[in-house]
Symmetry: C2
Subunit: 142 residues, 2 copies
């Protein structure tokens, strides 16, 4: 029996391990685009890095509405979808600080500084997604 | 070093095991929505079931453009994003046939018929996505 998770339970599930988010945005043509991203948690917000000149970066500047989906692909299946509002942060110290946190989460702490240096450069952005609605179900096929 | 996959290699990777697709659509309000779905392969097309009265079902009737993303969340990371055009099929024999195939892929062959019966009923749809562009990279962090 599927179990609905509260927003707080859903965020705890998402960040209990380094899952990738699949972010959905709307491109200039009006078509949807989904891509995997690395994320970190800042309280109730979800943080990610992207480039100013990427499809994701351009899309969130046109329209701040994004959708983030996380799931466990194995039975009994769990998923979390976060509808949220994206804020673009260009301050390079912040971009670099979070790039290190995010790189460390997915590649190991020993790689954190390398990711901070690589992504903490002009043209790189930090995006902070504030959830507006979280939909989450655990153990769907149980 | 990331390796670009050809469309054929990308589809083979996607269907080598029962990965979930994360489908992106555009809702009536113009906001993106991403959700996990079960899929099957029909040649070059990707097939999934949904309900007539779901956000996904309504979205593909308004606009057939969808985005499907699959990824391996562990290092060195691989992802496939498929931009495609959705065709809605209401023929219940087809809905039921594919619901059994899809249920069997994710829950085991012994569950296939039960999924076919459960999802082969009025109000359930089959959606056939014909790829228009496939973007895929393997071993991204290698």
């Amino acid at each position: 029996m599927a179990t609905a998770l509260t927003p707080s339970e859903a965020l705890d599930w998402v960040f209990a391990q380094p899952r990738t988010a699949k972010i959905g945005v709307v491109t200039r043509s009006g078509a949807p685009l989904v891509a995997p991203i690395w994320v970190a948690r800042d309280g109730e917000a979800v943080i990610f890095n992207t480039g100013d000149d990427t499809a994701k970066g351009r899309a969130v500047r046109r329209d701040p509405r994004v959708s983030l989906c996380f799931d466990d692909e194995a039975p009994p299946f769990t998923f979390v979808t976060i509808a949220g509002t994206a804020e673009v942060i260009e301050d390079l110290a912040e971009v670099r600080r979070w790039a290190a946190v995010i790189g460390g989460r997915y590649m190991g702490e020993d790689q954190a500084e390398a990711y901070g240096e690589r992504n903490g450069v002009p043209g790189e952005l930090l995006v902070r997604v504030t959830p507006t609605k979280i939909t989450a179900f655990a153990d769907i096929a149980d």
